[in-house]
């Protein structure tokens, strides 16, 4: 072996050195590095998981928002329809009331007009009757002398006697 240039001692020393180096490398460099890599891998996985969760959450939130918007829209439409219906009802009621009030006013005015017309008619009749009688009275005053009055009294008595006889028979 010596002829081959191999020094056993050197070889053993190198093997020991290599073993020591191997153990040292493994203990202080390779293992922490692997640990570091594993930690990094775990962190990456964790990040990906969180990101996935966040994405899911975001999607869920988007869906919820969409559903909420839809619901809001439906509520809005429903409220709008209700408001429209109420407004229509109120409008109809107002129109009906206004119409009724107008009819009542017309009826009242009509009655008032009729009453005023009747009153005017009565007053006119009374006035005409009074005037007519007054004219007759004035004419009679000029015409009625004592002789005429006596003739009229005689006529009244004749009529009264006639009536009495008729009544007695």
């Amino acid at each position: 072996m010596e002829n081959l240039g191999i020094d056993y001692k050197m070889l053993i020393a190198q093997v020991v050195n290599f073993t020591i180096l191997f153990f040292l490398f493994r203990k202080f460099i390779a293992k922490p590095f692997i640990n570091f890599l594993q930690e990094e891998k775990k962190k990456e996985e964790s990040k990906e998981r969180i990101l996935g969760e966040l994405e899911n959450k975001h999607e869920r939130m988007l869906e919820e928002e969409k559903a909420w918007r839809k619901k809001i829209k439906q509520e809005h439409e429903k409220l709008f329809a209700q408001a429209k219906q109420t407004a229509e009802k109120t409008r109809e009621e107002l129109l009906r009331n206004a119409k009724q009030e107008a009819e009542e006013l017309v009826e009242k005015a009509k009655k008032q007009l009729e009453a005023e017309r009747d009153s005017f008619y009565k007053e006119s009749k009374n006035y005409i009757a009074t005037i007519s009688i007054s004219i007759i009275q004035k004419a009679l005053k000029r015409y009625l002398t004592e002789d005429v009055q006596k003739k009229l009294t005689d006529q009244v008595l004749t009529d009264l006697n006639k009536d009495r006889k008729l009544y007695e028979n």
Binding site: A129, S132, L144, Q149, T153, R164
Partner: protein, 92 residues
């Protein structure tokens, strides 16, 4: 004494009322003649035994009003005119 006085007073009042009831007033525009009063008595039987007082009322145009107590029997032209006025007023 007081009661007796009151009784006497009441009896007097009754007599006065009796006479008033027995008295008939006839109002006319001129003084009625005896014949006319007689004819009135004939026409209105209830006046036959009543005392007639004739009052002249120039507001009466013609005819006469017989007044017995608070009752009036109107046979005047004024009454006829009032009746005519009422008829004109009540006509349509």
């Amino acid at each position: 004494m007081k009661t007796d006085t009151n009784n006497i007073k009441k009896e007097e009042e009754d007599v006065i009322v009796y006479h008033i009831k027995d008295k008939v007033t006839i109002m006319s525009p001129y003084k009625l003649s005896e014949t006319e009063i007689k004819r009135i008595k004939e026409a209105v039987k209830i006046l036959s035994d009543k005392e007639i007082v004739n009052i002249i009322d120039p507001n009466i145009y013609s005819g006469f009003i017989v007044k017995i107590g608070s009752k009036l029997m109107d046979y005047t032209l004024n009454g006829a005119l009032q009746h005519l006025k009422q008829q004109i007023y009540e006509s349509n």
